[in-house]
Subunit: 431 residues, 2 copies
């Protein structure tokens, strides 16, 4: 293989260390995709003395210039967070001809347009999929997949902390202070929760989405913002009476040449797709003139999801560096065995028509047991329910997980029983 | 501007004509994105005599060679459908050095790997975002955004016809034959519904997804397939009793170096995200080792959504042709006005603490009315509900859509009323 593509990190906290370990774990796959191995080069940290898993002491530095001077570094991944010096470091990396990948919503929201200009001027790329929606692909779909659309609205639940809190308040009737304390105990909320509960974090993210969706600059300060700290258990109860739930919605609309961006606790109908996005999940709904509505949902934070987005960006620019961008999505296919249905294993739902006589269920249960299929539940439905003849019934059985072949063997037995009038249906079942 | 990027179409049916009109409507935006205008070149049709909106008679041809010989054609969009001659035409276009964009799930499922090899050999791209999930971005997210993941499972509702039918059966207790006739009347099902109701269409799509998710070849014939025609209203009723709904799930799993692919009506718990995907909507859920679960949901068919995906692919390859692929997503931003909150307009939820005395509601209603804010509903909650003092109450009002400034004026009046003890909360409300 040719020379590696060099990746340096700014920051080695939660996310940085997850990126390091994922790069090591996926090394072979990533090398195959890029056509060159990815190599971890420098890691900028505050405390250069601390030992860090997967990072050689010689890679660690406390000086940004060590990263910028390293000729083997092609991609700089910024995961230190905060506005400065992160912004300044990103700008310096771009000016030095390095591609930059970041998870930093604050810097992108406040300085994204300026940094993109610097990247453009220096012929490199600035990617930030991880800055909004954690692991959910949002930035690239807006930048590429929905590009043919005139996007008219983006409506999102993009702060997991507040969604967790509002969900807990809704489901348990709990009060704001109680769920905040709980979220802090569980690590979902910071000791100082201001950025989350006052909607500041969500405002950064909707400002970033405005840029992509409408191709406009919206400063975070231009986002009309209201936090959730004024939402009481009674507001939530009253909203439910009105058929609504309260969600901290980040919204952006584009109409008549003007843009409108808000982050506010909002009553939405319980049947709306976003009303069902609960707990720490995030979701982004985009409306475009061609596509109508599409919804992206998934984990909005966490080491794994954030790493998933950061490395997607890294792999993307690494392909540029390697000159290996092949006609997407072509890579030679793995040859693997496709499992036939007999070897699939799942729970099953069985509807069996029987004559209602003593011992039928026992014989069916025995046939299943003999084949190694274990029964999870049985309900018998009589003719007044089924509309069947007097003296018949339907048995609805659910089984625990079993291989298709075992179930087929049992059904073969059952089919031949005198008291069985039909195998009405056999369907797989989740859970 | 430089020379145009030439686009020719194979097929001018529903989708083809929607692509033509979207290309015309979005011409300025697309030219700005690509850096060169997109030009419609040739359109291959069966009936060359029929007049078609937006297509000059001189552009129409019945001969594929007219398209292949046209030097101005850089991108060929295949929207004729069916296996042959669509496959042969795509191969010929790739061999002639044209990028190909297609919505053809059957050809991609059966011949995708071979065609991608041809594309690769000829240094061009074959893109097929529209082949699965209509307007929902699925192919590109799997190819790019989730690339860092080892994908372990894909679970999808990717046939709108059957999802419409099962949803109707679930919500109304209707029978299979009845909802099939209805779906045919509404144009959701074909006169011969076999491909949909027997899961053939979904099998093509899950085979395509297998290739992208796991980097393996799965032939449509390898997909274990069961249609919905055996599902009765009673199965659905029994499933509901068990806390489940029945969905035609397309699933693919990768484990122990083997792949498993199925399309079967499946019982899933009512709380599962996919259980809530109703009607003609599609949804694709992907599980990866880093990201956990992400869900993509939206319209799985239709002219607009399919055109959205086709043109996303066209714009992507057009940027290659134009050599204008700028550091994504950089393009100079539009300067627009950001509307201040006073000018936002929405419905509102108002919780107002009052002393329970005659005439309070009338005065509040008058203040709202004077400001031009119209009331949609009022509920009064007494101290036994609110926990407030004897003689107090809370009024919960909802308003029709009104500008923020009008609402603020009304609230200013209301705040000064003697009988009003507090403006408890003011939240926007959807719907």
């Amino acid at each position: 293989m040719a020379n590696p593509v060099g990746v340096s990190l700014l920051g080695a906290g939660n996310i940085g260390s997850a990126v390091v370990s994922a790069l090591a774990r996926g090394a072979d796959r990533y090398a195959a995709r890029v056509g060159r191995p990815l190599e971890l080069r420098r890691v900028l940290v505050r405390d250069t003395q601390r030992a860090r898993a997967g990072i050689e002491p010689s890679q660690v530095t406390g000086d940004i210039d060590d990263v910028l001077r390293d000729e083997g570094t092609h991609v700089v991944v910024e995961v230190m967070g905060g506005e400065e010096p992160a912004r300044a470091y990103m700008e310096a990396a771009l000016r030095s001809g390095r591609h930059v990948v970041t998870a930093n919503k604050e810097v992108i929201a406040k300085h994204g347009a300026a940094l993109l200009q610097v990247a453009n001027d220096h012929g490199v790329r600035l990617l930030f999929e991880a800055s909004v929606g954690g692991g959910i692909p949002v930035i690239a779909p807006l930048s590429r997949d929905l590009l043919a659309n005139e996007v008219t609205a983006v409506t999102a639940i993009i702060n997991g902390t507040t969604n967790y809190m509002l969900t807990a308040m809704t489901q348990r009737g709990a009060d704001y202070a109680e769920v905040l304390a709980e979220a802090q105990r569980l690590g979902y909320a910071e000791p100082d929760p201001t950025a989350d509960v006052e909607g500041i974090d969500a405002a950064y993210k909707i400002a970033v989405l405005c840029g992509l969706a409408f191709n406009v600059d919206v400063a975070p300060a231009d986002v009309a913002r209201q936090g959730i700290s004024t939402v009481t258990a009674r507001d939530i109860a009253y909203a439910l009476q009105l058929g609504h739930v309260i969600k901290l919605l980040a919204r952006a609309r584009f109409a008549d040449g003007e843009v409108e961006a808000t982050v506010r606790p909002t009553l939405i109908g319980v049947q709306e797709p976003l009303a069902k996005v609960d707990g720490v999940l995030n979701a982004v709904q985009v409306e475009g003139d061609l596509v109508g509505r599409v919804l992206f949902e998934g984990p909005g934070a966490g080491q794994g999801p954030t790493t998933s987005s950061i490395l997607a960006d890294v792999l993307d620019v690494a392909q540029d560096v390697a000159g290996s961008r092949t006609p997407l999505p072509f890579i030679p296919r793995r040859q693997v065995r496709v499992r036939p249905p007999e070897e699939h294993s799942s729970r099953a739902y069985l509807r069996i028509g029987v004559r209602d006589e003593p011992g039928v269920l026992a014989r069916i249960a025995a046939a299943l047991g003999d084949a190694g299929v274990s029964i999870a539940s049985v309900i018998q439905f009589d003719p007044e329910v089924t509309g069947g003849e007097e003296g018949t019934a339907e048995l609805v059985l659910t089984t625990h997980r079993a291989p298709g072949a075992a179930l087929a063997r049992a059904l073969e037995q059952i089919r031949q029983m005198d008291a069985v009038t039909e195998i009405g249906n056999v369907l797989p079942m989740e859970g």
